[in-house]
Amino acid sequence: MGDPVRVQLLKQIGKADNVNVLRSLRDQVHEHMKGILQMSPVEQFNEQLNELHDSVICRSIILAEAEMARLGMGSPPVPYAYLLFGSGGRQEQTLSSDQDSGIVYEDSVMDSEEARAYFQQLTSNIVSILQQSGYPLCEGNVLSNNPEWCMSLTEWKVKLNDWFAEPAWEAVRYLLIMADGRSVYGDHRLAFELKDHYFNNVIEYPNITRRMLDNTMRHKVLLGLFGHLLKEQYGSDAGSLDIKYGAYIPLVNAIRLLALQAGIRDTSTLSRIRALAMHDQLLSEEAASYEQAFRLFLRLRLMTTEQNEDGLYANNGKLSSRSLSREMTEELKSSLRTGKRLQRKVFKRTTGRLR
C-alpha cells in the first residue's frame, strides 16, 4: 500500500531480465521486509511478503520460458498452471521458505511425449533459477521438476483417484499437500478443474478425513500437562520453542481438515477460518479466537532463527524463549490453549461424523 520501496521492488522484479538481477532483488526484498517486520501488523506484512515472493516466482517462470525459446525449444505446447504447495500454497511464506511446487498442463491432442519433454526441461530451469535466487529445494522432493509432480490434467486425475482409493500413509500425505495447492502462474482454470476433481473425491471417500486426522495429529502443541511451554531440551537450540511444528503447523492442519470437510477451497489459513465462520461451521467468536491465535503464530514464526546456508535462505522454525517478553509468553500460552481446544474439536468432529 503506502510503501514506495515495496512498490518499486515489485516493479523491478516484474522487469528483471536475468537471474542475477532477480537474485539481487530477492536480497533487497529480504532486507527491506526484515526491516519493517517489527512495525507492521502481521497479517498485512504476511500479505505483502507473499505478494513479493509470488512475483519473484512468476518472474522466474517467465525467465525460464524465455530461456526455452532461446534454446530453440519454442513456447509451451499446451497451456499449464504452475502450482505452489506448502506455505507458498497457503500464502504463508516466511522470509525464508523452501520450494514446494508442481505443474498441471492441458492434455495434449498432438504429441504427449513432446509436451512431457518440454515441461521437464522448463521445470528444471524454473527450479534452478529459484534456487539461484535463494529458495532451497523441498526436502521431500515435492518439486515441479520431479515427474511425479509434473503431469497432464488427466494423469493428475488418475493419480488423485489412486491416492483416494488407496490411502496409505504416503498417499494421505500427498493429498494433504494437494489440499494447499494454489496456481500462481499460467492458466488458473486447469488448477480449478483439478481442485474440482479433488473435492468430488473428498465427498466420495468420507473416510479420507479420518486418515488425514491420523496423519496430522502427531504434531502436538507445545503445552505440557501443567500448562507450561515445552522447550527443546538439548543441543544448540536448547531452551527454544519449536514454533513451526508445535504451534503453527497444528493449527494449519486442524483448520485445513475443517475446511476440507466443509468443501471450502481457500488455501490460506486465515481465509479458511473466515470461510468456515461464513458457512456456519464455526461460531464467530470461536473463529475470532482462532484467527487471533494464528496471527500470533504467524508473527512468532516470522521471528524464528534465520540461517543462511550456502546462499540459500533457511529457517529452523525455532524461537529462543528468552526473546519473548513476559506478556508475549502469556499470550503464546493462551493461544496454544486455543490451538489445543481446536485440535480436540476437530478430533471429535472428524471421528464423530463417521460413527
Partner: protein
C-alpha cells in the same frame, strides 16, 4: 535256615552300624543350614547385580567404549574380592573394641575356620554377602568415571575404596560403630552402599569434568545417547531381581519369614518409582522418556532399600513415587550445574539414597523398628522428630566422609599420574586406547573415531 538268617542280619548290622544309632539333626543345625542356604542364594543374587551394572553402564554409553566399560567391571570385582579379604572386611567387622566406634580392627587376611558359626550363620557366608555389597557400591562409583577415566585410576581407586572408605561407613552403620549405637536405620544400605557409591561418583565426575561434546560453548547441553537402550532396560530387570537378594537377603535369616515382607515392600517401591518417573517426564517434557522411567525404577529400589523393613506397604509406595519424581528433577539439576553424569549415578543412587534414608525418619513404625531392633518409629507413627534427626545425621556424616576421602584420593591420582585420558584417546574410545581392541570390532574400524 533260621540260623542262616540270624547270621545274615547280624552281619548286616555290622555293615551298617549307623542305622542303629542314626540321629535327627538338632533344631539349631537345621536352622543354621536353612539360613546359610538363604544367604548363599542372596549372595549369588547380589553378585549377579554386577551383570546389571555391566549392561547399565555399557547401554548408557557409546559403542567405542563398550568393551572397556564392560570388562573393567569384572576386573575391579576380582580386585575388590582380594582387597576386601585382605583389609576391607577387617576394618568393617574386625573386632577390636578400643577404637570400635570409629573403625573395626582385626581379621585381616580373613581366615575363618572351616565351619565357624556366628549368630546362626557361617562367617564365610557373612563375608561373601558383605563383599558383594561392597562391590555394588564400587560399581555405582564407576558411573562417575565413565568414558573418560584412565584404567590405572580404576585400579587405584578400587584399592582405596574397598580397602578403607567403604568399610568405615559400613562399620559405622552395620558393624556396631557409633551411628549404629545412635539407632541409624539403613536396612540394606541406601546410605552405606548407594549414597557412598554415588558420592564417590560425584567426586570423580567433578574432577574429570564433562565429556567432550557434552556442553556447547553457550553452556547448553547436548544429549549423548547411550548406544543400546535394550541393554539398559535389561540391566534394570537384572538389578531389580538382584535386589531381592540385596534387601530380603539382608535379614540374614529365614526366621519367621520376615524376609518375605522385606521383598514385598521392595517390589512396591520399585513399581511406584517406575510409574512416577514415566508420568513426570511425560507431564513436564511432553514425552514419556524411557531412560527416565528406567532411572525411576532404580531410584524406587534405592530409596526403599533403607526402609524396606521399617515401613508399611502404603509408605513403600509413597517412598517409591517420591523417588521416581526426585530422580527426574535431580538429573535435570546435575545437568544444569554442568556435572556430566552419563549413568545418572548421582540422581539414582545419590538423591534417591538420601531420600530413602530420610524416609525412615518419616515413615518407620515403632512396631517394625522394634522387630528389626534398630532405632524407633518415625514422625508419622510417633510424632517425634528424633529418628529423622538420626537419619539426617547419618546421611550428612557418611556423605561428608566419603566425599572428602574420595576427593582426596582422586585428587592425588589427578595430580600425580593423571586421571583423565587425553583428548585423542577419548575421541577414539577407551576400548582402543586402554585395551587395544574394540568391543564391537565389526562396527568400528580402528582410528575412524579420530576423524569423525
Amino acid at each position: 535256615m533260621i540260623k542262616k538268617m540270624v547270621l545274615t542280619l547280624a552281619a548286616l548290622c555290622l555293615v551298617f552300624p549307623a542305622m542303629a544309632f542314626a540321629d535327627d539333626p538338632t533344631a539349631g543345625t537345621l536352622n543354621m543350614g536353612i539360613n546359610s542356604l538363604w544367604v548363599m542364594v542372596a549372595f549369588v543374587l547380589v553378585l549377579l547385580m554386577q551383570g546389571g551394572f555391566i549392561l547399565l553402564e555399557t547401554g548408557s554409553t557409546r559403542m567405542k567404549n563398550a568393551g572397556h566399560v564392560a570388562g573393567k567391571t569384572i576386573f575391579t570385582a576380582g580386585l575388590a574380592a582380594l582387597i576386601y579379604w585382605a583389609v576391607g572386611y577387617g576394618f568393617a567387622f574386625g573386632a577390636d573394641s578400643s577404637i570400635n566406634g570409629f573403625i573395626g580392627f582385626g581379621d585381616f587376611l580373613f581366615d575363618p575356620s572351616i565351619i565357624s558359626v556366628d549368630d546362626g550363620l557361617p562367617t564365610t557366608l557373612f563375608f561373601l554377602f558383605q563383599l558383594a555389597f561392597a562391590v555394588v557400591s564400587l560399581s555405582i562409583a564407576w558411573g562417575g568415571f565413565a568414558e573418560r577415566a584412565k584404567l590405572s585410576s580404576y585400579f587405584i581407586f578400587t584399592i582405596v575404596f574397598i580397602g578403607v572408605i567403604y568399610p568405615i561407613v559400613a562399620h559405622w552403620i552395620w558393624g556396631g560403630g557409633w551411628l549404629a549405637k545412635d539407632g541409624a536405620q539403613d536396612f540394606a544400605g541406601s546410605t552405606v552402599v548407594h549414597l557412598s557409591g554415588a558420592i564417590a561418583a560425584f567426586a570423580a565426575t567433578v574432577l574429570l569434568k564433562p565429556r567432550i561434546g557434552k556442553y556447547n560453548k553457550d553452556g547448553s547441553a547436548n544429549e549423548i545417547s547411550g548406544h543400546n537402550q535394550v541393554f539398559t532396560a535389561l540391566s534394570v530387570l537384572l538389578l531389580w531381581v538382584g535386589w531381592f537378594g540385596f534387601n530380603a537377603g539382608s535379614t540374614l535369616a529365614i526366621g519367621d519369614g520376615f524376609f518375605g515382607y522385606v521383598g514385598f515392600t521392595t517390589m512396591l517401591g520399585a513399581g511406584a518409582g517406575a510409574v512416577a518417573a514415566l508420568l513426570i517426564s511425560w507431564a513436564v517434557n511432553g514425552k514419556a522418556d524411557i531412560t527416565t522411567m528406567l532411572n525411576g525404577t532404580l531410584a524406587g529400589l534405592v530409596a526403599i532399600t533403607a526402609s524396606c523393613a521399617f515401613v508399611e506397604p502404603w509408605a513403600a509406595v509413597v517412598i517409591g513415587l517420591v523417588a521416581g519424581v526426585l530422580v527426574f528433577y535431580s538429573a535435570k539439576f546435575f545437568e544444569k550445574i554442568k556435572v556430566d553424569d552419563p549413568i545418572y549415578a548421582m540422581s539414582v543412587h545419590g538423591a534417591a539414597g538420601i531420600w530413602g534414608t530420610l524416609a525412615n525418619g518419616i515413615f518407620a513404625t515403632d512396631e517394625l523398628a522394634s522387630k528389626v531392633g534398630v532405632g524407633q518409629g518415625g514422625l508419622i507413627d510417633t510424632g517425634s522428630w528424633h529418628q529423622l534427626g538420626v537419619q539426617a545425621l547419618s546421611v550428612l556424616v557418611c556423605g561428608a566422609f566419603v566425599l572428602a576421602a574420595s576427593f582426596l584420593v582422586l585428587f592425588i591420582i589427578k595430580a600425580t599420574i593423571g586421571f583423565r585420558v587425553t583428548e585423542e584417546q577419548e575421541i577414539i574410545g577407551l576400548d582402543l586406547s586402554e585395551h587395544g581392541a574394540y568391543g564391537y570390532p565389526e562396527q568400528l574400524k580402528k582410528g575412524q573415531g579420530i576423524q569423525g
